[in-house]
């Protein structure tokens, strides 16, 4: 139980099948508040705060281990093993998308299926690949985070939320503020410089990809790339803006989940 507690784990719900809710960069497990009731009605829901995130973020983050997304994947597997979860439906947003994919490649037995929202295996453009970012974009991002973290949040939060939703902007800003700035910077470096494209083809479990049509962090092209690379993956593009559809467009996400997860839960 030690990892589950350390990562501020929370378990609730009526269902028998386990659903893991894993949040993305800059949020914590409260990001699932809008969708959680839907899951609780159908699943045995387990959520937690990623290393570096949530109120205990500074205690759970290890600059070495979490310098790569594989460290987070190991955390996820530790939690599942500790709770003796043999099989789960995994829902991961943003960085948790590829974390789930890495964990599912290492331990396919643990994952019945994965729902991946707004994820990207590589943020930098490459030959024949549109990640959406150029190296100078990332340098600028890291520089402004380092120069004044609070000021950076003020600009970053509304841009990532992508829609006029002051409540979500406030929630997202609050969880960003909650992160220790050096951890936030290191985490964003880990994410934005990652290249896990080679992982995609090795995911052997069913994957449902969801993203919006206009996401500053993840161009639609990335969704198509992943859907192509992961055998049998489905892609649902919500005709809306923003990187946090589970917060800004929960009804759209629920509609997709109803369809994609039909029959998986009792």
């Amino acid at each position: 139980m030690e990892s589950f507690e350390r990562f501020n784990g929370r378990r609730s719900g009526e269902g028998k099948t386990v659903a893991i809710l894993s949040h993305g960069f800059g949020t914590d497990q409260t990001a699932w508040n809008a969708l959680r009731p839907w899951f609780e009605a159908r699943f045995d829901v387990i959520s937690f705060d990623l290393a570096g995130c949530g109120p205990q973020g500074a205690q759970t983050y290890d600059f070495e281990r979490h310098g790569s997304l594989f460290g987070y994947a190991d955390d996820l597997i530790d939690i599942l093993d500790e709770l003796d979860v043999r099989e789960c439906t995994y829902i991961g947003h943003s960085m948790s998308g590829m974390i789930g994919a890495a964990a599912a490649v290492a331990r396919p037995d643990l994952f019945e299926r994965l729902v991946i929202i707004g994820a990207s295996p590589r943020y930098l453009d490459d030959d024949g690949y549109t990640g959406g970012f150029r190296p100078q974009d990332l340098d600028q991002l890291f520089d402004s985070m380092r120069a004044n973290y609070q000021a950076w949040i003020a600009g970053f939060a509304p841009m990532v939320v992508g829609v006029e939703d002051s409540a979500v902007v406030a929630d997202f800003s609050n969880t960003l503020f909650q992160m220790r700035p050096d951890i936030a910077l290191n985490t964003s470096r880990t994410i934005f410089t990652s290249d896990l494209r080679s992982l995609a083809a090795r995911v052997s479990r069913p994957v449902h990809l969801i993203q919006t049509a206009h996401d500053v962090a993840v161009p639609v092209a990335v969704g198509h790339w992943l859907a192509n690379a992961i055998e049998g993956a489905t892609l649902d593009v919500i005709d809306a803006s923003g990187h946090l559809p589970h917060m800004t467009a929960p009804d759209d996400v629920m509609r997709i989940l109803e369809q994609r997860l039909a029959g998986t839960a009792l």
Binding site: R65, S68, F70, G71, I77, A103, A106
Partner: protein, 444 residues
């Protein structure tokens, strides 16, 4: 060094991989807690920071044979590098320095063929352990070197560090500025010149040359000398590195100018009378001992003059204490001016002053006392528009400085000068009285 050891480990992994037909071979440094602190693999790992504590690798007793991978929990980074799930694995423990769980990990994606050289792989354990230890030591050395360099440039002192072999020398920025050479690494021989030149520019170069020449061939010597360069003084500390000249020699140049000025000012404040600015009684007693001791060498005469302002109480009562203070200042200045530079003059207490005169002949003393008296009485003292007539009475005593008798002599002279002063007072003031020469104080 780090590169070559890690390169050797990478090559060793590659070799083990060919020999065993394994799909992944990694050399991993693992601390007692199961935490991987460094790793190299063929093919390469996406991350080498993972924890193997719950992998099951360390609970198994390895006999040099690959076993089925079921039941082992391997970090996701390793599975990623393996490009698939392992069916078999082998761990060859290779405990290395500060990393007792280190070893060589071999993974197969399908059952290994029996005809391979897998059985030979455990023979590599010693080499792996040795290379891991060497790599760690070199990495640690690099950290220590960086910390040293930071410290070397952060301290306010100039530092010259001569290597143990006497060939190389490192000079920090502060020392470079002082020596007029570039900071960084030099041949020791090239630093010796600027250091010698600096020493020869010192005001006290002769003393320094003497102090250091005695240690020319002693590589263990330690010394602290002040090098005076005009208005600046550097405390130069040289000593063998960690007490052993074979480790090298360090020269530390610390600018102590401000400290010395501060100390001198404190000494001056402690030894002078705050009202009149002349030395106080404590300073008189310390300095007189030195003067008498100097006279002892050739048996010359010394004299004490006790000087007391006449009717001082009346001046205070009439004009008030602030005016009395001004009068004391003027009296002190007139007396001081009337004496020779080498004479010691101090405020002894209240309106009483004392002088210690070194004289070549006994006859000089009464004349000097008279000069002093007349200098005060010559004209009235002007304070706040008041013209105040002031005079002093002077009692003197002469003695001969004899070896070993300084303390006793001073006490005797003060006591007899006091008596003579009393006589001067009772016989009308504004006059000089000398105590009669006494055979026990003056050798005829």
């Amino acid at each position: 060094m780090t590169t070559s050891d890690s390169d050797a480990l990478a090559a060793l992994c590659q070799f083990a991989r060919l020999a065993s037909h394994a799909d992944l071979v990694m050399a991993v440094e693992v601390d007692a807690g199961g935490r991987a602190t460094w790793a190299v693999a063929a093919p390469a790992l996406p991350s080498s920071s993972f924890n193997l504590a719950r992998s099951g690798l360390f609970e198994h007793t390895w006999s040099g044979e690959a076993v089925e991978a079921t039941g082992f929990r391997l970090p996701s980074a390793i599975i990623h590098a393996l490009e698939g799930l392992p069916t078999h694995l082998l761990y060859v423990p290779a405990p290395s320095h500060a990393a007792p769980l280190s070893g060589l990990l071999l993974l197969w994606r399908s059952a290994p063929a029996p005809a391979t050289l897998t059985a030979q792989v455990p023979l590599l354990a010693t080499s792996v352990a040795r290379l891991l230890s060497a790599r760690r030591e070199a990495a640690r050395g690099a950290i220590v070197r960086n910390q040293f360099l930071d410290l070397f440039e952060s301290v306010p002192a100039g530092i010259v560090l001569i290597d143990g072999d006497g060939v190389g020398a490192a000079v920090n920025e502060h020392a470079a500025e002082l020596l007029g050479c570039a900071a960084g690494n030099h041949r020791a021989a090239d630093v010796a010149g600027p250091m010698r030149a600096l020493r020869q520019r010192c005001d006290n170069h002769a003393d320094l040359a003497l102090a250091y020449s005695a240690q020319m061939n002693n590589d263990q010597f330690a010394a602290k000398q002040n090098w005076t360069l005009g208005e600046r003084t550097f405390e130069v500390d040289t000593h063998p590195v960690r007490g052993n000249g074979a480790h090298g020699r360090i020269w530390l140049f610390t600018d102590v100018t401000a400290d010395l000025l501060m100390a001198a000012e404190l000494r001056r404040l402690a030894s002078s009378d705050p009202l009149t600015g002349v030395p106080n009684r404590r300073h008189f007693e310390e300095s007189s001992a030195q003067i008498i001791a100097a006279r002892e060498a050739n048996g010359r005469a010394v004299a004490v003059l006790m000087v007391d302002v006449d009717h001082f109480k009346k001046i205070n009562d009439t004009y008030g204490h602030p005016v009395g203070d001004e009068v004391l200042k003027v009296v002190a200045r007139r007396c001081r001016d009337a004496l020779r530079g080498r004479d010691l003059f101090a405020r002894f207490g209240g309106e009483e002053f004392i002088a210690l005169l070194a004289a070549s002949t006994v006859d000089e003393i009464p004349a000097a006392a008279e000069r002093l008296r007349s200098a005060v009485a010559a004209e009235p003292i002007l304070v706040d528009g008041e013209r105040i007539a002031v005079s002093v009475s002077v009692g003197g005593a002469i003695g001969e400085a004899l070896p070993g008798g300084d303390r006793k002599l001073l006490e005797a002279l003060i006591s007899r000068a006091d008596e003579a002063l009393y006589e001067a007072k009772t016989s009308g003031r504004n006059r000089v009285r000398m105590a009669a020469l006494q055979p026990d104080l003056v050798v005829p």
